[in-house]
């Protein structure tokens, strides 16, 4: 597999200029994620009103894959209901772990489809899923640090 399929332009772009990056004082939910294997850290902020995610933000440090994943995720989440966000988590997780069923095409998956190449790099799946595990914890209002382990 060509490296360009992993490091697509969109991923490199989001890793260099992450969107929704920085503290978000107006958030009403947040969660921390940490990958002890590589030291990647993320703090995810959400503003949720009437079960709809209206604003998102994140801070932290990590590799291109984890930064781009967080950046694109925070873009995608705006305007989603909590149920929709949970479904998005499940679908993203299936896509990058390669456990998507035969109907699980990525054509309608928008920007998230750029992460479909990750499944060929098992060692890097955790980088892509860190932000998403953190999201799930924020949604579960868990007062703990999300781990990819």
């Amino acid at each position: 597999m060509d490296l360009r399929e992993l490091y697509q332009e969109l991923i490199v772009d989001h890793s260099k200029q992450p969107r929704n990056f920085g503290p978000m004082p107006e958030s009403n939910y947040h969660a921390d994620g940490f990958n002890p294997l590589c030291g990647d850290k993320i703090r995810l902020y959400l503003k949720i009103e009437d079960n709809v995610i209206t604003e998102t933000g994140f801070e932290g440090s990590g590799c291109a894959i984890s930064t781009a994943s967080a950046s694109i995720m925070t873009e995608m989440l705006k305007g989603q209901t909590i149920t929709q966000a949970e479904a998005l988590f499940e679908r993203f997780h299936s896509m990058v772990t390669g456990s998507m069923g035969p109907d699980g095409g990525v054509d309608d998956f928008g920007k998230l489809a750029v992460f479909s190449g990750i499944k060929e790099y098992p060692a890097r799946v955790k980088c892509a899923t860190l932000a998403w595990h953190t999201l799930r914890n924020a949604l579960l209002e868990r007062d703990e640090t999300a781990k990819t382990e």
Partner: protein, 414 residues
Amino acid sequence: MIVGNGTEKLDLVALRRDFPALDQEVAGKPLVYLDNAATAQTPRQVIDAMERFYREDCANVHRGVHELSQRATEAYEAARCQVQEFIGASEVGEIIYTRGATDSLNLVAHSLGELKVDSGDEVVISAMEHHSNIVPWQLMCERRGAKLRVIPINDSGELLLDEFDRMLNDRTRIISVAHVSNALGTINPVREIIARAHELDIPVVLDGAQAIPHMHVNVQDLNCDFYVFSGHKMFGPTGIGILYGKRTFLEQMPPYQSGGDMIESVTFEKTTFNDLPYKFEAGTPNIAAAIGLGAAVEYLSKVGMDCIESYERELLDYATKAIGSIDDVKLIGVAREKAGVISFVIEGIHPHDIGTILDREGVAVRGGHHCAQPVMDYFKVSATTRASFAFYNTRQEVDELVFAIGKVKELFSD
């Protein structure tokens, strides 16, 4: 294999043929294996010795009167003698088999700690230790109400010996430092540390895991009180390591783990313990791996540690210049005395991305905190990329690494 006496050059073509795993392609390119500080490759001589044990001599040691058990015991104990000779220990009872350097350090921290450390005492380590030379001491200090003190480092990645001097006092009970740093490659001034410690009768533990594959180590000459290392970083198998300790300490230290083999006699009222080294070797050991380790030190002795040391010094100089002169690359750890390791960061590109891209060029390196998070904190990086060398690496492989770093920059260029 080509035998060296310290003045000859290594015959790399012949030596590399001894390592079957080096002869393969990764991602369609010849493997360039530069993750030796994590685990080094294994020569066929080691693989053969272990296979011979399983094919012909497989039995438990120190037990049976039958032929296989005797052969197993002989091979297992012969390997211990080879290790003793290799590190220049005065007697074979000072060579204790463990699962690896981590296990050895846990043993010393636990057992020497129980012997020497009380509430209010102090244990000294350094800021460049691997987690395995931090956490066992930290836990022991917590248990015993003692204080862990840390020798600081400078921006080159060298220990501040003046600070070390100021740190020593009449409560200092143990000093444990790396001989060579796994994250920075610094060769620490262990002779000076030992000399100063011994003026105050403080025992010194050396973590030799990153030193022993690269240089001639003689524990009596160093005069360290303990020396630990792992088999798999010195071309032997995983799951085996050594704790060397001076008999005077080992005899006084309480057992660490208990069970079979480490006892002399057992009744429900009282157990008396076996002599050294068996007092510290509970249960059936990793026999095949011990035999493999014996084969590894025999192999290294034949190649010649002096030859290895001088060849690697040239290779590291070459690699330092080549990698250090790439734009945007910053070397982490530029001590005057170094061995085996080049750690670096590239502005704006995370080591895990670098690792993945290099892997697709066939170049195996490590990206991460190298189990030395305090070192990363000191240099204010979350991780580094580490290329670590063995005597079988070549200048051409360094060139391949430099070329592959070029690919990384290309992929991330605007």
